[in-house]
């Protein structure tokens, strides 16, 4: 079809480094030399390579649609076949062994370049994967991420059964299985565990009739509360949950002002994990300072950072609750619900809001929130927790 035979005199350039073209060539007769600068081994030395008759050249740049990274020049009278991408595809699909060979060559090349990149970045070649795998497991164990840690320990034992740390790995695995991981003391499992994540799927639907700044949507609002008998704190809380105040809150999070981010040498996830650590050690003040820092982040570059940003809201609310800063906790948690209506953390946020109300003796409101959480699908430990708290409050009320 469109396959063309081209004849070149000696010394002709078939293509130049930097050219953009989607043609692929096969050397039919004569000689072609490819000249390329070796970036792979950091030398930048010009390397010349002979194309053998019958071989393809110009494949990678055409397939990857990037500029030629070598120059192809003829030596002696030369004939080449010029193929379009479509021709090339048709042709090699007939001859899968050629593809296999190319794949091996390509993957070897990629491996070499990857190695050099790691060297240049100082990530070194001297690493011992056995030790590194164990260290990775330890990292996730410390971070209280049992699924990650468990997987890494298991793989470690599977591949290096009789190694240095195998007994430690065994012991850690046991602790993960029995749920006795890390420092404990948290009310909830870390929010990035699968169970919590799955539970969020239908949470947003549930909330459509449950906007927390709309009092009328709250079922069973006791009449007494509308009167003058409310505590000042309760009023303040309602203020916080009202539309206008929350909008003010949101104003703090405008993302498009062209200011430079304040010099934050750390990345958002680093800060987040440091805060998590502080929280697990009961240093709630320090942790909340870091979470607040995250909430002031102006540029979030990817999904993870957005997720971390979102989680920081919940974690900050949780810190504030622990510190007895109830008003702040309500503000933070309700801003999470507003800003991230489909967040994984909705259910846990609602539960905490219930706990804030319980602690501030707004028992009816607490019960409203607990029953909402208890009814949310899918059921998980938050539902059970909410149900238990609800039962306790109901019992207490019964006694009175």
């Amino acid at each position: 079809m469109a396959i063309q035979t081209r004849s070149y005199k000696s010394g002709s350039i078939v293509y130049m480094e930097g050219d953009k073209s989607e043609n692929i060539y096969i050397l039919k007769g004569g000689r072609v030399i490819l000249t390329t600068k070796k970036v792979e081994d950091k030398t930048w030395v010009e390397v010349k390579e002979n194309v053998k008759p019958g071989e393809f050249f110009g494949v990678k740049s055409a397939l990857g649609r990037y500029p030629r990274d070598e120059t192809a020049q003829t030596v002696g009278d030369t004939t080449v076949l010029s193929l379009s991408l479509a021709d090339f595809e048709r042709m090699i699909l007939q001859n899968i062994n050629v593809v296999k060979k190319m794949l091996r060559v390509f993957s070897n090349q990629l491996r070499r370049i990857g190695k050099t990149v790691r060297e240049v970045l100082g990530e070194g070649e001297s690493i011992n994967p056995e030790v590194e795998l164990f260290k990775l497991a330890e990292y996730y164990f410390k971070m209280e991420r049992p699924q990650m840690a468990g997987h890494a320990y298991k793989k470690y034992l599977e591949f290096y059964p009789d190694s240095k740390y195998s007994s430690v790995a065994q012991e850690r695995l046991q602790r993960i299985k029995s749920g006795a991981m890390g420092g404990g003391g948290n009310d909830f499992s870390p929010s990035f565990e699968p169970e919590t994540a799955r539970s969020a799927v239908s949470a947003s639907d549930d909330l459509t009739d449950f906007s927390i700044d709309d009092d009328t949507a709250m079922p069973a609002q006791p009449a007494a509360e509308q009167g003058g008998s409310r505590s000042p704190l309760a009023n303040e809380m309602d203020d916080f949950l009202s539309e206008s105040k929350s909008d003010d809150l949101l104003d703090d999070f405008t993302f498009d002002e062209p200011a430079l981010p304040s010099s934050a040498p750390q990345d958002i996830n680093e800060i987040f994990y440091e805060a998590m650590r502080l929280f697990s050690e009961g240093q709630y003040n320090e942790a909340s300072t870091l979470y607040e820092k995250i909430m002031n982040f102006k540029s979030l570059q990817n999904e993870t950072e957005r997720k971390t940003f979102e989680k920081a809201h919940f974690e900050l609310g949780r810190c504030q609750y622990k510190l007895g800063k109830y008003k702040e906790a309500l503000g933070t948690l309700s801003s999470l619900i507003k800003k991230f209506p489909s967040s994984d953390m909705i259910k846990s946020s609602l539960l905490y809001i219930g706990m804030v109300f319980e602690d501030t003796k707004n028992i009816d409101k607490a019960m409203t929130y607990y029953s909402k959480v208890a009814a949310m699908d899918p059921k998980d430990q938050h539902n059970r927790d909410a149900q238990n708290r609800l039962n306790k409050l109901q019992n207490n009320q019964g006694k009175r």
């Binding site: 990678k60 595809e89 593809v99 993957s107 070897n108 591949f159 565990e193 994540a197 990345d267 540029s299």
Partner: protein, 214 residues
Amino acid sequence: MIQLESPVFDKFTVEFAPNELIFCEFEPGNEFYIIQSGRIRIVKIVNNTEKTLDVLKPGDVFGEMAILEEEPRSASAIAVDHSKLLKFHRDNFDALIQGNPQMAYKLLVIFSKRIYDAKRRLMILLLEEPQLKVMDVLNMLAEDDPHIDMQGPIILRCNIQEVANWAGMQISDVQKILTHFNQLGKIELFNDRIHVKNIRDFQRVVNSRRKSSV
């Protein structure tokens, strides 16, 4: 990218729940994966912190270095959403592409792109002066966008963190350099984008320096 709908592949389908781990860094790997649905996060522990390198989408391939030989994974793969993947062991690879030359072709395309991207990155990393590195990251970002007309002022969608990652530099250092360029009027710096007045300028500077160092 690669969509393999045939029921032949049913037995290769594996499913992962959100946040579930597919493989972890340093674990020896013999399989590669093609994403059918859902997103996969590629993370690495750098300086005691989990860093996200990439979020992959349906049609993307990962773990492909295992096609050649068993090698420790260079990063961990974690499901973001409920994800359906095709999982192929290296031993099945030959048989697999024998029956699906189309896929082999797609893999060739993927490898070609990865090789170029890695080489391009290496070219940045091998520059000695930090300013040149930052400039060359901007050059690379401009090259990547086929809609950009290099003759005029251009807009690059990126932030300082991304530039720092590409350049293999500290964010604070990159920020200093970009702020300096900003003051010189060469660029205008925003949170989510960088306006470059004359990218040709940067290309010229980097190219001349690259040539002279050879």
